[in-house]
Symmetry: C2
Subunit: 473 residues, 2 copies
């Protein structure tokens, strides 16, 4: 175990972190539920107050058409130092099904485990835990370096709608572009491979979605009087969805892979370094009997580095008890596509339309709805000085060497691509989650030592980043 | 126009038929809705009273585990005459969606049309109209022949649960087998091809159903973190359903066609005699853009004479607004199979299981639920003396010759097969419905002249049947 002034400060003030998180987690800031709009606002107020208490001279609540975001800024006395912008969110996922929680989701409960103490609550890691460690981290940075201002200018943008798909976040970034200008974005909304496997996320997948409605007869028909003689939209939908992948597990949309950057040998080598126990993964988080997917790629590559198509919902006709002998008038499917560099979400809609068109049987009409927007894939530059600073900070907090920090690709998608695109700044990812944290599920938890190390890592990061000279702005 | 004493009596007493039907249709005897259980009981009481008023010496209400049935018997003085049992039902379909009705469904409304007066109400033809004409028909028979008792012994069994799938009807038949003993069953729950195309249904399809649940991951998974690497039960369901038919539109269950009796040249010739305007059928009742189905068969044959498989409902995953990025734990489909002679409903379950088994991808488990029961296909013997009597009665009522009466195959299914099997008696079908009657839909109606002819036909039928000498009982 190495020691450092940053670690000493963090260790001496863990109770502050725990008390802050406890108070914040008691606010049920569920952004997807309009009934909790007041709680989301209260969550923003709590965070603004905590940032002021930490010492940020500028703290503002930014209203949006949806939920409020919190902005904070602490300029460095060193005017040549880089500007870092921390991204996170203060809203949380819904808690259904409530009966599966071992403890009430908004009464944070400490549970001792062989790996150390856990805190169970909705938002414990996603994302209040990941944001909260920045409060203690900033204090540790200042105390350890004896400074009145941070070594780099630190801004924070903590949005309130991430769990609702960040519908107004790109607008927010556009309308406050000047205030948010930065040299690097530090995303704190991800995790690491394991407590003893410090790691940095280097990319996230993009997202595009489509909803398909197939229409057959104008009304539901009696399947005795008409069955066997008119097209059944459920049969057509099944054929269509069955055609979404070929025998090699490849997505069949025409042109889907055209823009996909092939995985380099270096990327595959780096991904391969992350230990992965497939049997444990299947038995644990994946809760599945077997793996499947695109031929020629490992499970980790399939999840993190390759584009996919998944039907998230499909329905039509009668779903009640017993039977109802109808040929339904309509059938529906919702599909999301995960994208990798250099795919663009806006290119997927036309591909979906072409694919549906090519697979429609006679007598069936299709309505393909492709929402505007989507999420672009995003990635860190592995060779930038910001990445060097991040790896060094993580290495110090996790008692290892920078070249031992693993690189992970995150299969999920978020507004991070908006940050990179709207602000024109590179991304690095510092998050303290674990695959076992059950985010979005009942019994969400955080392993508290991960948050302690996260706080220490940010303290190191502001010091390390001070050595980077950004290109002229 | 021929004239007869039967027609004269019917014509002179049409107001009685109209008044009876009006009163009966005001009772909303919806068997599927427990809130209407009292109305179903009131409907049985109304019918029992009407049968007593008509002169039936024995009228009983038979309770079941579900809704009550009405039994009536009027023995012929001629002890060698056959015993005929009329089957019908006094319950009706639900009325949703109510807003699509042009008149309140339980306020019978007369509407003049170029074809004659219609009566609009739920149950107007299915099946209160078809039962009601027997009341007037019996009076016409007695008046025209000057008898105190009918020429044949007439029994009636009018059940109260047909629109709920007749769950307790086979039990009822078994427990009252002695009372229901008969030489021929006269089913009055079907229709004819057109007002000027008198016709007799000669078969009904059977029914078997299955519900399939496919299970993938133990819980809904995040499609970003797991998508592309674990089996998605919706994809598996689509592949399964897509495999239900081959390129020729044939059902792929192993052995599905083994018991199917090939259509004889005579049957195809008889079916072909029924005029069928496919374009009008598509534009009208089928409300579809095109026909489809099993290669090598006409639309009428596909509907009436060939077995089919239709998915009536399919669902899994997220169905709400926007998207939810999950791989669902489960996917579901409800399938019904229509059967023809000599398929048996109880043989379908094992075929479904074998088919699902053969199409399951790795990592997906299936639960196939096949309810006990089902409905066997049933058919009339075209060459029996009972059929001769029926054709003669229809011909007289519709002003034609017996050899001009068309034969129709009914694609739907009902408890008629139970009658034939439990009672060991042949079936003939006398119903006055039309394809345009909108049964089971909003704005159900009956063309009143069809009911008038139906009443006259029963009056002729009892007289014609008296000439048949049944085999020794």
């Amino acid at each position: 175990m190495s020691s450092s002034a940053e670690r000493d400060f963090v260790t001496a003030h863990l109770d502050d972190l725990h008390a802050d998180l406890d108070a914040w987690l008691r606010i049920p800031s569920i952004s997807a539920d309009p009934a909790h709009a007041g709680d989301v606002a209260a969550s923003a107020e709590w965070l603004a107050e905590a940032l002021r208490r930490t010492g940020f001279p500028t703290v503002e609540i930014w209203e949006t058409e949806g939920a409020p975001a919190v902005f904070a800024e602490w300029p460095s006395a060193d005017q040549d130092a880089p500007v870092a912008l921390v991204y996170g969110h203060h809203d949380v996922q819904p808690v259904d099904p409530l009966e599966l929680w071992e403890h009430p989701p908004f009464e944070p409960t400490r549970v001792e485990t062989p790996d150390g103490p856990e805190l169970h609550a909705r938002g414990a890691i996603d994302d209040k835990g990941n944001v909260a460690f920045h409060l203690l981290g900033m204090r540790a940075h200042l105390a350890a370096t004896g400074r009145d201002t941070p070594a780099v200018t630190v801004k924070m943008i903590i949005e309130g709608e991430e769990e609702s798909g960040s519908p107004f976040f790109a607008d927010l970034l556009r309308s406050h572009a000047d205030r948010l200008r930065c040299d690097v974005v530090v995303v704190s909304d991800t995790g690491m491979a394991a407590p003893d496997l410090p790691s940095a996320v280097t990319s996230m997948r993009g997202l595009a979605d489509a909803e398909i409605t197939l229409r057959g007869p104008a009304v539901d028909l009696h399947s005795g009087s008409f069955g066997g003689a008119v097209p059944n939209p459920l049969h057509a939908l099944a054929e269509l969805v069955a055609s979404l992948h070929d025998a090699d597990g490849k997505v069949t949309l025409p042109g889907f892979y055209d823009a996909v950057r092939p995985l380099s040998d270096r990327e595959r080598e780096l991904m391969g370094r992350v230990p992965f126990d497939e049997a444990a993964w299947l038995a644990g988080p994946a809760a599945s009997r077997t793996t499947t997917g695109e031929a020629g790629f490992s499970t980790q590559e399939r999840i993190g580095a390759r584009p996919t198509a998944e039907v998230n919902g499909m329905w039509g006709g009668y779903q009640g008890p017993g039977h109802k002998t109808i040929i339904p008038a309509e059938a529906h499917a919702k599909i999301t596509f995960r994208l990798v560099a250099d795919q663009r979400p806006e290119e997927i809609g036309p591909m979906v339309r072409a694919w549906v068109e090519a697979h429609l049987p006679a007598g069936i009409e299709a309505d393909v709805h492709v929402p505007a927007g989507g999420v672009a894939p995003c990635a860190s530059d592995l060779d930038s000085p910001y990445m060097d600073a991040l790896l060094s900070a993580i290495a110090q907090a996790w008692d290892t060497q920078a070249d031992q920090v693993l690189f992970m690709k995150e299969g999920g998608s978020g507004p991070e691509a908006d940050l990179a695109e709207q602000l024109g700044a590179p991304l690095v990812f510092l998050g303290a989650g674990l695959p076992t944290d059950r985010i979005h599920s009942p019994n969400e938890r955080v392993l508290l030592p991960m948050l302690h190390r996260g706080a220490e890592a940010t303290a190191h990061l502001w010091r390390e980043l001070a050595g980077v000279r950004p290109p002229a702005r």
